[in-house]
């Protein structure tokens, strides 16, 4: 028996999902062990083995093809500023690029913060000015070397940095993307004089035009690289000691896994890789149930996130903003705001208006009802007061919630000052929180040119399924799906992933483009792809290469990525003409008819290659639908639940998810309790359990 | 009613009316309605006193600084025109 095992390491819990050859899913869970995450990972795997009912745990572990996710080491290192002592070498006269940034200092700030001009400041640099060295050399836009590298000066720079005990160095010279010879020569000098140092070359980490963003990417990579390396080497060692023979594969922010060596070389790829797992899981699930347009939403304790899958393809971005810096890295596109179960409800003293968030109560003290000392009412407290949550059955019965304390907190802090009762206040908190989330989804989809009405909404996160039908309804969405794997959707993404390498390079070509040059640029990238995938053990038959071009109309600003059909055959004039027309179509779809200035001509800016090493996907077992399934067999009881439609409490059926069989259908109102979340079905909606045991809610049905 | 006026100056009111005084040494400069700038000790300096990159202003502008007559606290720094015969431009 062969198993596919995915382990998702979170802040509090480590989840493990196992799929066997027959497509049965088993879940394991353990507490995360921040001192050495590998331990918690092994615990979760053992828990899954136990749940599988296996006698021989070790045999299971040895036959597992294992995937891990680098948890949040990269993100944490950046946020806590615990990275390597990092220096940067830049072209003389241009050392301040990383400090000047591009202006735009309000990127990543909330609107009120952004409007408060006198209080604005730039993010603290990861490499302070005294550790930025300037080197005499210069390359121009054509790649011509105008000033050669001053070797003596370079050696002095290396010696200075060694004396300062620098652990990691980023090299980012102007126009290294057009000609990397000086950067490579500089790297050689470092390797010769300082063999142990962690080196990041901008021409390798982010071979794209734009010295600020390229430097920022290089610096991030240099800063977190050493820590990520140490973490991953340790992980591999611990796994081996415990009998795991499979090579761990690490999730990247663009939704694909890479081996440990490749990850270490591109440490930036691990930043915000957590959400990537979840979105991949959504894509996989979507393909199982035939849904190609998905808004994947995740409402956790503090943050609400939304990503989009269109025509089965995950929406990506190539210049994400991380901690207020723009970097050049492929990433799944995710929009987020501070809104979650732990968001605090408060009254603005100057205006008397009720507000929800963005401040949250976090995990500690958490919502008032958790009993960990929280005193400010939160969204989860409202959910409890309104009857959505069950005080006696939370987190699968692992935790009791204190309803009275939630009532008191809402009454004192919100209801009394507003002159209303606590139910009205809780309902207000609920509605405001939902409006924040639907507004974010609206804003995010408009920016991408999507109409939310054409999508189904997947709801994840602890608090998601309580609220999702409301925030989806606001947008005109017709179907909300709470996946069976909601509790482990990160791990589900892992096990459905392929090995994916991304390559890219800036080369500015005006149309008509020289076919020779076009093919040469791609060949170089495709060559790298084959080298990497072959050394990762893939045969040609399991390698899929897709080439794309970032293009735009001349004098216009918006770029679109247009793919060639998958394959590596030489590109002909016919092929490019098709891509150019496809660009015209895509542009009109995205930006409206007549919006493209076609007469100005087009230009190519970036060459991209996505190389996929296809892995065997788990086959998920689907159950047979029972046409006469009776929801009552799953009825746990009833309780009073508040619904806006009734402006009051209504006696509502409460179902046990474990006892609902595929095919069961029931109309709202209704509550479904699962070990990890609560699903609220509103009065005018209808819920169906599908063949995979996902809960499908049809709004207004 | 007492309230700040700017860095190092405040307005305070007593039985006799409202006054402007220095917050460092409590020296009263003048009544609220009067122009406290006229009471200050005043110096005119070459613009390069503000830094080396001000050299382009030499010959055209001067640096005017106003100080508290009591303790010498710096109250104002401003660029004023240098008139051709060496006199400075109009004070406020």
């Amino acid at each position: 028996m062969h198993y596919i095992v995915g382990v998702d390491i979170g802040g509090t819990f480590t989840d493990c999902v196992v799929v066997d050859e027959e497509g049965r899913i088993t879940v394991g869970k353990s507490l995360s062990t921040p001192d050495d995450f590998a331990i918690g990972a092994i615990d979760a795997v053992r828990d899954a083995a136990r749940n599988l009912g296996l006698n021989n745990e070790d045999e299971f572990i040895q036959s597992a093809r294992v995937f891990f996710h680098a948890c949040t080491v990269g993100d944490n290192t950046l946020i806590t500023r615990a990275g390597a002592k990092t220096a940067l070498v830049a072209t003389k006269g241009f050392a301040d690029a990383i400090l000047m940034m591009r202006g735009l200092v309000t990127q990543g700030l909330a609107p009120t913060e952004a409007a408060h001009i006198s209080a604005l400041s730039k993010p603290e640099p990861f490499v302070p000015r005294p550790l930025i060295e300037e080197l005499t050399e210069r390359v121009d836009y054509k790649g011509s070397v105008l000033f050669p590298l001053d070797v003596k000066e370079a050696e002095e720079i290396v010696e200075r940095l060694m004396a300062k005990k620098i652990e990691s160095v980023g090299l980012c010279l102007l126009w290294s993307v057009a000609n990397d010879c000086n950067e490579k020569a500089l790297a050689e000098i470092f390797r010769r004089k300082c063999p142990g140092i962690f080196l990041t070359l901008s021409s390798e980490a982010a071979p794209f035009i734009g010295e600020y963003e390229r430097t920022a990417t290089t610096v991030f990579n240099a800063y977190i690289g050493p820590k990520i390396s140490v973490y991953l080497q340790n992980l591999r060692r611990v796994l081996k000691e415990n009998g795991l023979s499979g090579e761990p594969l690490i999730m990247q922010a663009y939704g694909g896994v890479l081996g440990i060596e490749a990850t270490c070389k591109n440490a930036v790829g691990t930043i915000e890789s957590g959400p990537a797992s979840g979105v991949l899981g959504s894509q996989f699930l979507g393909s199982l149930i035939g849904k190609k347009n998905i808004l994947a939403t995740d409402m956790g304790g503090t943050t609400f996130k939304v990503s989009a899958i269109r025509d089965g393809v995950i929406e990506r971005e190539y210049k994400p903003v991380i901690l207020r810096h723009s970097i050049l890295s492929s990433k799944i596109w995710v929009e987020s705001i501070g809104a979650g179960g732990g968001s605090i409800a408060w009254i603005d003293s100057e205006t008397g208006l009720l507000k929800v968030g963005p401040r949250g109560a976090g995990a500690k003290p958490g919502p008032v009802c958790y009993g960990f000392g929280g005193s400010e009412p939160t969204v989860s407290d409202s959910d409890l007061v309104l009857g959505y949550l069950n005080e006696n059955y939370f987190l699968g019965g692992r935790m009791r919630l204190n309803k009275e304390s939630a009532v008191q907190a809402i009454r004192q802090k919100i209801a009394k000052p507003l002159g209303m009762d606590e139910v009205e206040a809780a309902s207000g908190i609920f509605r405001i929180a939902n409006s924040h989330m639907s507004d974010l989804i609206r804003k995010a989809t408009v920016e991408k040119g999507h109409d939310p009405r054409n999508f189904v909404l997947f709801a994840f996160g602890g608090a998601g399924p309580v609220h999702s039908s409301r925030y989806a309804a606001e947008l005109g969405i017709k179907e909300v799906i709470v996946p069976v794997t909601a509790s482990v959707h990160g791990a589900t993404g892992l096990i459905s992933s392929d090995v994916v390498y991304e390559y890219g390079k800036s080369d500015h070509l005006l149309l008509p483009a020289d076919l020779r040059r076009l093919n040469d640029d791609f060949s170089m990238l495709v060559g790298k792809a084959f080298t990497d995938l072959q050394s990762a053990g893939f045969r040609d038959g399991d390698i899929r290469i897709t080439r794309s071009l970032d293009m735009r109309y001349r004098y216009q600003v918006h770029e679109l990525t247009v793919p060639f059909p998958t394959g590596i055959s030489e590109i002909t004039e016919n092929d490019v003409q098709e891509v150019y027309s496809h660009f015209d179509e895509l542009y009109e779809t995205a930006y409206g008819k007549g919006s493209g200035y076609r007469e100005a001509g087009k230009e190519i800016l970036t060459f991209r290659v996505t190389a996929v090493g296809v892995l065997k996907k788990p086959k998920i077992k689907s159950a047979s639908i029972s046409k006469r399934a009776n929801p009552d067999v799953a009825l746990k009881g009833k309780r009073e639940v508040y619904f806006e439609e009734q402006r009051g409490f209504v006696s509502t059926n409460v179902y046990d998810f474990e006892r609902l069989v595929p095919g069961t259908e029931f109309g709202g109102p209704g509550i479904v309790e699962t070990p990890v979340t609560t699903i609220v079905v509103n009065p005018k909606d209808c819920a169906v359990i599908d063949e995979f045991r996902n809960v499908r809610i049809f709004l207004g049905a | 009613m007492n309230h700040p006026l700017r860095e190092n100056l405040e307005v305070y009111t007593d039985g006799l009316g409202a006054w402007i005084r220095c917050t460092k040494c409590s020296q009263v400069l003048c009544r609220l309605e009067e122009n406290w700038r006229n009471i200050c000790r005043r110096t005119l300096l070459p613009p390069t006193k503000a830094g080396p990159l001000m050299k382009d202003l030499v010959g055209h502008f001067l640096l005017e600084q106003l100080y508290c007559p009591g303790c010498g606290a710096l109250l104002n720094t401003e660029i004023v025109e240098e008139k051709k015969n060496g006199e400075e431009g109009q004070a406020k």
Binding site: G93, F94, D96, A97, M100, R102, G103, L104, A115, H116, S118, K122, R129, P130, D140, V145, W175, I209, G210, E211, Y212, T351, G352, L354, G428, S435, D439, R442, V446, G449, L510, V557, Y591, G592, S595, A600 | H3, P4, R6, E7, N8, R41, L45, K49, A50, G51, P52, L53, M54, D56, L57, F61, L63, Q65, G72, A73, L74, L75, N76, T77
Partner: protein
């Protein structure tokens, strides 16, 4: 505060109305053609009440929100009498004497009907690439009257009951040098207004027009009552300042701010008569500058709507530089006159804020503006182009933190982007050492760059130098703080830069290239292959006495190359160890005492 709509519904719907203006803005950014629209946010998108009062001006620049208030009212005045206002009409206006700041700002105004009843308006403007003025791009230094500054439209109907009037559209774009790009901008405005109409229809359907009306008037009352309250809390008083608008001539501007209760009166009486250069401001631009000064400090968290205009009154005598009348020109005003008026209106406001314990933390050193250069010519690919050279400015210091280095205004391009689009080679681009005004808190450093012509087929590039000329520009210090280094455009003529490039040696110091140094006034000239152009943006002014700056911070400024050794000692009075750069506190105390005695003697 009592409101007639329940607070929950108000919170949700007011936010949603605000979101609609953001969606309008996103549409402009996505469909618009020019960098101004798509990256610099130099546009406006807003919603209005049926009478033209601003309901929500989104997140655009506050001064544009103010002018927007005038645009709709002008259209109503004109078309109520003659022509009619019907569902799915869209109107166009760009007359600076009526609502625009200058002609390049083209307004589109669209009525929003629900079941044939006029429920409100939406409006946008974008800054177009060309407007058919004397000079390409619009800013025309040679114009002496408004008729030399391009099309001027007091109001016309561009879309009639949903049908675009192609004859009018073609006529308008035909008069510009960039008909396709201008056409695209007009189309994106139509699209943005259509988005507003569609979304408002949904709102009316979902919530009913009565509720939306209640929420709308509540939003305006909300901003007005809070802003009034905040102003009321500040001590009454009177504050003055004076300044000048300079090109190669000079015009004086005088401002007195009077606060009584919750009223603010900005009085510009005494300012010079209007000029025969395009530096003049129309009334609404002056209003906009004053409004922006108030709302970005006292009201930065408040929705921008008619209510926020309430407490503000402007006295600007007709026929002066701050209230221009026909036939005086305006095309240069955003880079000259506006900067002066923005400075003055902020300056008097800062003096007012300083008198309030609660609001004095908003006091910030201000800037008198910066130099701008347009460049035009044939690039390395053989294509003619026109573009602008602008770099990042340093912000003024406040009473509790240093000014931000190279943070504004909005954005600047990478050197690599510039070198890949234009025939230039940069010798350097960096933060300006000794740029920020000295003070207890130092002003933010601006940027400096030097460039030369590279691979230009014609061997030259035309440069048009304008912006805030004269040497009294850039950040000014506040409350004792020192002024920042001036913003400059300098031409080094007939230099040895070619030798350096040919022998592949890097000029360590700009002085090494030699040549004749010329501080550039307002002018046009050709930058040739032996010339070097030096550009310096504005830095921020300082706050307070530099002799009070923490010596540790001065040492850090030195380590961060924001100041020189000389400045550390001569201006800040800090004595540092030669090698470690650690401050010698005792020696510093002594030096500072001596410097103080010398100064105030």
């Amino acid at each position: 505060m009592t409101i007639s709509v329940d607070p929950i519904t108000f919170e949700i719907l007011s936010h949603r109305l605000h979101q609609i203006t953001l969606e309008m803005g996103t549409t402009l950014e996505r469909v618009g053609g020019t960098v101004n629209t798509t990256q610099l946010h130099d546009y406006m998108a807003a919603l209005y009440l049926p009478n033209g009062d601003v309901l929500s001006a989104g997140e655009c620049m506050a001064r544009h929100a103010a002018c927007a208030g005038f645009a709709v009212k002008r259209i109503i005045e004109r078309f109520e009498k003659d022509g009619g206002i019907y569902p799915h009409d869209i109107f166009l206006l760009n007359d600076p004497y009526l609502a625009a700041i200058h002609q390049s700002d083209i307004y589109m105004v669209s009525p929003i009907h629900y079941r044939d009843q006029l429920m409100g308006w939406s409006a946008t403007f974008v800054h177009v690439m060309d407007i058919g003025a004397m000079s390409p791009g619009g800013n025309s230094p040679g114009a002496t009257e408004i008729c030399q500054e391009g099309l001027r439209i007091p109001g016309l109907k561009l879309v009639e009951r949903g049908r675009l009037r192609q004859d009018v559209f073609d006529t308008l774009i035909n008069m510009t040098r960039q008909p396709v790009m201008v056409g695209l901008d007009l189309k994106c405005e139509i699209a943005a207004n259509n988005v507003a109409k569609a979304r408002m229809q949904e709102m009316f359907e979902q919530y009913g027009p009565e509720l939306i009306k209640s929420v709308s008037s509540e939003m305006i009352r909300y901003s007005e009552s809070i802003l009034n309250k905040r102003i009321q809390e500040i001590p009454d008083g009177l504050w003055k300042d004076r300044g000048a608008i300079e090109t190669d001539e000079r015009w004086n501007v005088v401002l007195t701010l009077r606060k009584k209760g919750d009223r603010l009166i900005f009085d510009f009486t005494g300012s010079d008569l209007q000029a025969k250069r395009g530096i003049n401001l129309p009334y609404h631009a002056t209003f906009g500058a004053c409004f922006e000064a108030v709302v970005t400090t006292l009201g930065y968290d408040l929705p921008r709507n008619q209510g926020a205009f309430g407490p503000i009154e402007i006295v600007a005598p007709e026929g002066t530089v701050v209230n221009v009348q026909y036939p005086a020109p305006v095309s240069l005003n955003t880079t000259s006159g506006m900067k002066t008026v923005q400075y003055l209106s902020s300056s008097v406001l800062m003096q007012m804020l300083a008198t309030s314990e609660k609001w004095k933390k908003e006091v910030m050193a201000l800037s008198l503006g910066f130099r701008v250069a347009r460049h035009a010519g044939v690039n390395q690919y053989g294509r003619y182009y026109v573009s602008t050279l602008l770099d990042l400015c340093g912000a003024g210091a406040t009473s509790y933190q240093d000014g931000m280095n190279t943070g504004g205004y909005l954005t600047a391009h990478n050197v690599e982007w510039i070198e890949s689009n234009f025939p230039f080679l940069y010798l350097f681009r960096r933060q300006l050492k000794d740029g920020g005004g000295a003070g207890k808190f130092i002003g933010g450093a601006g940027a400096e760059a030097a460039l030369t012509v590279h691979d230009a087929p014609e061997g030259k590039v035309k440069i048009i130098a304008f912006g805030v000329a004269g040497l009294r520009n850039s950040g000014q210090g506040i409350f004792g703080g020192y002024p920042a280094a001036p913003s400059l455009l300098v031409l080094l003529e007939d230099t040895k830069v070619r030798d350096f490039v040919e022998t592949r040696k890097y000029p360590e110091d700009l002085a090494d290239v030699g040549g004749q140094r010329r501080l550039l006034p307002y002018c046009e000239f050709d930058l040739r292959i032996d010339d070097v152009l030096y550009i310096r943006s504005a830095s921020g002014g300082g706050y307070g006495d530099p002799l009070e700056r923490d010596p540790e911070l001065v040492a850090e400024d030195l380590r961060n190359r924001l100041i020189s050794r000389e400045t550390a000692e001569d201006v800040y009075g800090v004595v540092l160890d030669d090698r470690s750069l650690v401050p010698d506190l005792a020696a510093t105390q002594g030096l500072r005492k001596r410097l103080r005695e010398k100064s105030s003697a």
